[in-house]
Amino acid sequence: MNRIKRFLAANATSSLIAIVVGLLFGLCILLLSNPAQALRGLGIIVSGGFNGGGKGIGQVLYYATPLIMTGLSVGFAFKTGLFNIGAPGQLMVGAFAAVYAGANLTFLPGWLLWFVALLIGMLAGGLWGAIPGLFKARLNVNEVIACIMCNYIGMYGVNYLIKNTNVYDSLKYQTINIGQAAIPKWGLDKVFYSMKGNFVDSASVNGGILIAIVLAVLMHFVLNKTKFGYEFKACGYNRNASRYAGINEGRSILLSMVIAGMLAGIGGGLMYLSPASGLHIRVEEILSPQGFNGIPVALLGLSSPIGVIFSGIFIAYISQGGYYLQRLNYMPEVIDIIIAAIIYFSAFSLLVRNVIAAVVKRRDIKRETANGREEETP
């Protein structure tokens, strides 16, 4: 028991230490770009979403939603021994499919429309994950390479499809409003708002965050309680032994990429199934940053679905802090650098965990503790 406690402590501690290191690094950049305001700036970043009162917190949850989904996607694939760097593509493909369905299946009643659109987004994302999965399972093509190609094909393909279908708003270079298919708010806008005089300024947060959390719990359950989870993890830990056990390795790889793709696809749906005032898919030649940020989210959450909920919220929180940093006349580019630095430094937590293990071991040798976990011979 003691060991499990220590293990958990080491995990959470490493993530926290990584975050502190990230913040210190951010402080360095703040000092370089505008020393007078640096400490205040750091204060703003650290108070993140709280700067904006109730609305700010709501915004954090709103931005955390797709991050949690892509973090789940990347983390799940990690657990099965695959590096899903394809979340940006899967997210965009899922987003387009969801938006297209939302714009065209208008014969469905509103309460069903968003749900069906989201499911379609999920399937499209799954399909996009299946491609690298198939290449890996059948031809042993490295999934990283296939994923990167799928990212670009996905981005350009989605741009092409938007321009050539009825969801294009050619004046704004983006998709049309699909308010009828927006994810319902489920009362969250009544919880997260700020008052501007007599005017209620609600956050953009919607039911998506609840869906993401439920899915994270579901993934935790699948990984730890089910036969599939047992197979996936066995494949991730020791491919030879899982083959020996009769686990169909190809099927596990394919299925795992499909599930990862579906999670990212849902992320895309949750992001873009939004009211007229919300996000629209823009026709741009950029790979979705929400997709890529799934990687630091998963790393910081140590690939555990529950950990990913917290790390997704944290990264959205810090990003929101960066948004409020504009008050101090920092250039937007500098803010981007600072936030990116904090995020990526924090993602080194896995590395930090190893350092902690080494430190604990050294202390062990000084006979201050006696513990077996960190000392396992490989």
Partner: protein, 508 residues
């Protein structure tokens, strides 16, 4: 008395278990000191303490009478202590020479200076009769050669105290003879050797003294020359051990495993690894495949179990053909497999012991319902096997498998495979790394399976095991079966002739 190393009152705790309990061990200069004990008795732990990998909770270590403190393997190296681990630690895509100098390279002006190192390695390998090719890649040389590299690594660092953790478990009998010779040479040069093994013959052959551990405690140190094998094994297990296995005559029934003209081609060899092999194993008999390592036994087993594709021939289990069946289908049809490499195939080391014990049956209704694992059933089943097979570990069914001792990991695999009540049990070196008590138990289990009407195919490199357990012996030489003889009608000498290819009988 002058001792090079004294380990006094060493105690080391792991979660849930005291691996060493007030152990004292002394090593004289120039002696070969054996360390004997059951699986999980704490031998590797004690040696890891000496080698600086674990810190003892209590006790002191002295070298030449001076108290020393060792914090890390490199610290141990600088004190002249070297170790060959139970599982080797070599870099596979480096050459022999690179592996030997790794960590102690001579560098001048930022460039590696290899010529001096090369000269020293060649000199050392000549002096101790350990020929190696310094430029061969580790991945291309045999396990026996890899071990020589490990030994040369210690000598290259001018180590005086050499620890060998079960060096013979992975070697062929021929290689063992060579190793014994090398060890004697080292001792004669004044080096002091600590030698862990489960084989009493080896202790008898090379060791001067022997320290016996049981459940972490030191039972005593004896002079090998004055102590019989029986006495040593009794010290170790705490009871008398039967060396010969009792078994009645076999009553073979119908064919359970039928192999016809099986062929497996090598990747880059023109000669097939398994060449036109045909044989039958009937219900109620133990058939043993003997042979020098590397004559196609591994490939034969991988082909039968579906881990390796075949290039021709047919395989039947009972009446049904399994030539093209998937691994899962074979498993579910009643094929069990104790694999040769326990870390590669046999276990998911990151999993708990209980999870490993259901590695092949997790999908059966006993352990899952509607896709949900039945953890209660899993733990219950694991506790049952742990009890029956005496699998020792710190935290029972919840122990992370990687932290278990090598022999107990092996016992876990054997327990899992035998307890599936298979129709056909393919056991490859099932007792590798086990203590004599455990070997006795496993042999009894194999015979019990046979008497229960199961077919057993045993692949072993150890002729003692082959002669003791089997009913019929097949000898493999260069991928072919060159002999098929009843165990009672043959001798070790005759098998030796078949194994080296100097004789072959007409088979099937």
């Amino acid at each position: 008395m002058d001792y090079v190393i004294e380990m006094l009152h060493i105690t080391k705790d792991f979660p849930g278990i005291r691996a060493n309990d007030d152990v004292t061990l002394t090593l004289k200069r120039g002696e070969i000191h054996a360390l004997l004990g059951e699986n999980g008795a704490g031998k590797s732990t004690l040696m890891s303490v000496l080698f600086g990998m674990y810190a003892a909770d209590k006790g002191v270590i002295k070298k030449n009478g001076q108290v020393i403190s060792i914090h890390s393997p490199s610290g141990a190296n600088s004190l002249g202590i070297g170790m060959v681990h139970q599982h080797f630690k070599l870099v596979h895509n480096f050459t022999v020479l690179e592996n030997i100098v790794l960590g102690v390279e001579t560098v001048s002006r930022g460039m590696l200076r290899m010529d001096e190192a090369r000269a020293k390695v060649i000199e050392l390998s000549k002096r101790y009769g350990m020929m190696v090719d310094p430029d061969a890649f580790i991945s291309d040389i045999t396990v026996g050669m890899q071990q020589r590299v490990e030994i040369l690594k210690m000598l290259y660092r001018d180590n005086e105290i050499l620890i060998f953790d079960e060096p013979t478990a992975v070697l062929t009998p021929q290689e063992i003879t060579e190793l014994m010779h090398i060890m004697k040479g080292l001792a004669a040069e004044g080096k002091s050797l600590l030698f862990i093994t489960h084989k009493l013959n080896e202790i008898k052959e090379v060791a001067d003294r022997c320290t016996v551990l049981r459940k972490g405690r030191c039972i005593g140190t004896v002079d090998v020359a004055d102590t019989s094998k029986e006495a040593m094994s009794e010290m170790m297990v705490g009871r008398k051990v039967d060396f010969a296995v009792e078994k009645g005559p076999a009553k073979p029934g119908k064919a359970a495993l039928l192999v016809q003209n099986l062929r497996v081609k090598g990747r880059n060899h023109s000669k097939p690894l398994v060449n036109n092999v045909s044989f039958t194993v009937r219900k109620g008999e133990i058939v043993c495949v003997a042979g020098v390592d590397g004559n196609g036994q591994s490939e034969l087993v991988y082909a039968l179990t579906g881990l390796m594709p075949i290039d021709g021939g047919r395989i039947f289990m009972g009446d049904s053909e399994i030539t093209n069946a998937s691994i899962r289908q074979r498993n579910d049809a009643g094929l069990s497999h104790i694999p040769e490499d326990r870390h590669k195939h046999g276990l998911v080391l990151e999993y708990m012991l209980a999870e490993n014990l259901i590695l092949k049956s997790y999908h059966k209704p006993a352990f899952q319902r509607h896709g949900l694992l039945r953890f209660d059933e899993m733990y219950k089943y694991a506790d049952m096997l742990i009890e029956a097979f005496d699998i020792r570990s710190g935290q029972g069914s919840r122990t992370i498998t990687a932290s278990m001792s090598g022999g107990n990991q092996q016992k876990a695999i054997v327990a899992r495979e035998i307890n599936q009540r298979p129709e056909v049990l393919i056991a490859m070196q099932p007792t590798r790394g086990l203590d004599i008590g455990a070997i006795e138990y496993i042999h009894k289990q194999l015979i019990a399976a046979r008497d229960d009407g199961k077919a057993v195919l045993l692949v072993s490199l150890e002729l003692d095991e082959v002669m003791n357990v089997s009913d019929r012996i097949l000898v493999m030489y260069e991928g072919e079966i060159v002999a098929d003889v009843p165990a009672k009608e043959t001798t070790v000498q005759e098998l030796g002739l078949y194994m080296t290819g100097s004789r072959r009988s007409e088979v099937v």
